[in-house]
Amino acid sequence: MGVFVCLPLVLPLTALPIARLAEQHLHPRSATRLLAVVGVLLALCSTLCLGLLMVVGTAQLPGNPLPDSWSDPQVRAAVPYEEKAGIVAIGALAAVLGACGWTVYRHVRLRIGAGRALAAAPSVVSGDIAVLPDPEPYAYALPGRPGRVVVSTAMTECLDARERRALIAHERAHLAARHHRCLLAVQLAARANPFLLPLRTAVSFSTERWADEEAACAVGDRRVVAVAVGKAALYSHRAPDVSVGFAAFAAPAGPVPRRVAALLAPVPPVRLWPPSSAHVALAALIAAVGTAASALSSLNAAVTLVGILHAATPL
């Protein structure tokens, strides 16, 4: 135990270099999967670590739900408890669980609300596409059974026929690859450990890039997809009342121009090995070592603690 049990709390920092480099050097599909897996693993370890700290900490508190034998002197001697760390961990764990619960609740609420809005008007849905008469331009993939592509008329009006096909193909790619699961997973991961926030941004960007690439394959022209993304973004930007909802996501670097630039550039290589540059290899190595260390550290601590608990509790 000791200080090593706290390592998983800071080890998510090791994933930041790869989160930064994956965008330029990896195919968006690989980037999404790699970052999502790394993010979820690191978040799980970090949460487990918080849980262990809490268990050790609460052993000191009167009225804790643990068995009485936890306050035996022998057990106390075996567990290097830090009372303050334990109490802080209680608060942190409660915050993590609360934030994750809230995130899931909002996810479900938005999906149900949007699904109901469509269900009340069966006439707007044809196939998997729902076109809503709305002066605000928007288009998104609404996951569910079946998933739907929701487009406003304002959005379709600003694009020509081929660009519209590109837009639909983009949203269908989101649905087919179930990107909402990745997005939710990294969002929960970022709630569990704020150090993972850059990872979440990177994943949401690479899912968009991934869908762009799929759309380019479906339409057969990368330029059309690039123009569709660019036109839609400029058109929405000009619309008066969109800025409010978008403000939260405004990144200084600007995801939309990066997507358009990537689409105007050649197709990214799909291969993962050998890595395209030494930087990427190093970043991937750092992330892999960090994740492994995080997993080992938290598993080791968990096993130790369970061992002690098992020994101390006559169950």
Binding site: T103, R106, L110, G113, A114, R116, A117, L118, A119, A120, A121, S123, A130, V131, L132, P133, D134, E136, Y138, A139, Y140, A141, V150, S152, M155, D160, L167, E171, H179, H180, L183, S204, T207, E208, A211, R223, A226, V227, V229, G230, K231, A232, A233, L234, S236, H237, G245, F246, A247, A248, F249, A250, A251, P252, G254, P255, V256, P257, V260, L264
Partner: protein
């Protein structure tokens, strides 16, 4: 529903035909106030306003779509009583007024004063209503990018310039059919 609002008319029939318009209006006014309460609090308004609690359980959207469909089937402006008569199921007059007021607040219907009561006209179809509801769902979510994979996200002022430059570059090599890409945006 009738017994849920004591003091109001216990029976639908006389209300539709015989009740003076002034009383119908007051019902409408009271209910639009009640509507505001129902819309404002998501808690349990059941105790204070049984009517609104009941409505919520029955699925607002469904009723709104039904009322709108009936209103659209009318030749011209229709009274709330007419809507009630043509609705399927046994909805109270006050419920119909509530739904109409809600639709009015969403700009899905228009109303005009005829004598001492209102006549209602549909201003939007089923699709329009779905769009309104969808917009409300989206606007209720501040960080909707986190939930929905959207086609486009925000642009910073610098982005706009960069994007125009990129699009101009995309158009430069060959510009077959869409000359308004750069200036028309």
């Amino acid at each position: 529903m009738d017994s849920a609002r004591p003091g109001h008319h216990p029976d639908n029939e006389p209300l539709r035909d015989g009740v003076p318009a002034a009383e119908r209006l007051s019902a409408a006014e009271q209910l639009s106030g009640l509507d505001a309460v129902a819309a404002g609090s998501t808690g349990s308004p059941g105790a204070a306003h049984p009517g609104s609690g009941r409505l919520r359980r029955r699925g607002q959207g469904e009723l709104e779509a039904q009322v709108l469909a009936v209103l659209r089937s009318a030749d011209g402006p229709a009274t709330a009583g007419w809507v009630q008569k043509h609705l399927e199921g046994d909805l109270a007059y006050t419920t119909v007024i509530t739904i109409l007021s809600r639709l009015y607040a969403k700009k899905a219907v228009t109303r005009s004063r005829e004598g001492r009561s209102y006549t209602w006209t549909s201003a939007s179809d089923e699709a329009g209503l779905a769009a309104l509801r969808m917009r409300r769902v989206l606007d209720g979510e501040r960080d909707r990018d986190a939930v929905l994979a959207r086609f486009i996200s925000a642009l910073s002022p610098g982005d706009e310039e960069r994007l125009r430059a990129l699009l101009a570059r995309a158009d430069a090599p060959d510009d077959p059919d869409n000359p308004r890409d750069t200036e028309g945006l």
